[in-house]
Symmetry: C2
DNA sequence: CTGATCGTTCAACTATTATGGAACTATGCC
DNA sequence: GGCATAGTTCCATAATAGTTGAACGATCAG
């Protein structure tokens, strides 16, 4: 089975609120989630605008978001696409994402 | 001015979203916030139901919530009342508190 | 004033999280 | 196959957060 590059993702039904809140409580992760709200990005494009961050650091943040169930990370050819799990989050925690994405605060 | 036992509270307008999310991302703090949604409590009543926690530990959690702007802590005679800053939070982050208090997740 | 009570702050320790270099895996191109 | 690319994982280190006993401050009762 060659294409076994899939990473584990929690089921929508089992998402834990405190884990989601924690994942979103970091400014750089929150900024990324806001960008992902406008559409999927490949991992390289998840770099904070302007500054460069080591790949391992970025990967760690993506992992935190993924394990909390905030983003999905799927291989696509040689790269990976990161996308917001908007429907899953809306299903399980209605209104939360909208509130977090809504204009205010950093 | 004798009754100067007031603790510092951030202004409603300056609340930082990531700080609020972080304060809510701890299960015991979130559980407390849910209880506070039903009305103010004195500090001693903020103990987790069942287990006893040292006063200093409880005080530390209250501080995290207070400094994020989630709760207000006001002296009242010999004790203190802890209350949810619901209006301030709703003003600044509309829908957030409702989403977090809403049934789902732990 | 003395003592008791309520709760915060301080200081020390532990545990969790963040960071980043190096090694590794998988894919695609030649 | 050989090599470059994309990104994760591993490991070590630094930084941050949680936990707790003890000291402290304020208030109230007698």
């Amino acid at each position: 089975m060659p294409g076994a590059r899939d990473l584990p993702h929690p089921d929508a039904a089992t998402l834990v609120l405190t884990d989601v809140l924690f994942a979103l409580s970091d400014p750089s992760r929150l900024a990324l989630v806001r960008r992902l709200a406008q559409g999927p990005l490949e991992v390289a494009a998840c770099q904070p605008t302007g500054g460069e961050v080591p790949k391992s650091t970025l990967s760690h943040h993506l992992r935190t978001l993924r394990e909390a169930g905030v983003v999905r990370n799927v291989p696509e050819g040689r790269q990976r696409y990161v996308s917001l799990r908007r429907e899953d989050l809306d299903d399980r925690f209605p209104g939360l994402l909208d509130a977090v994405l809504g204009g205010n605060g950093e």
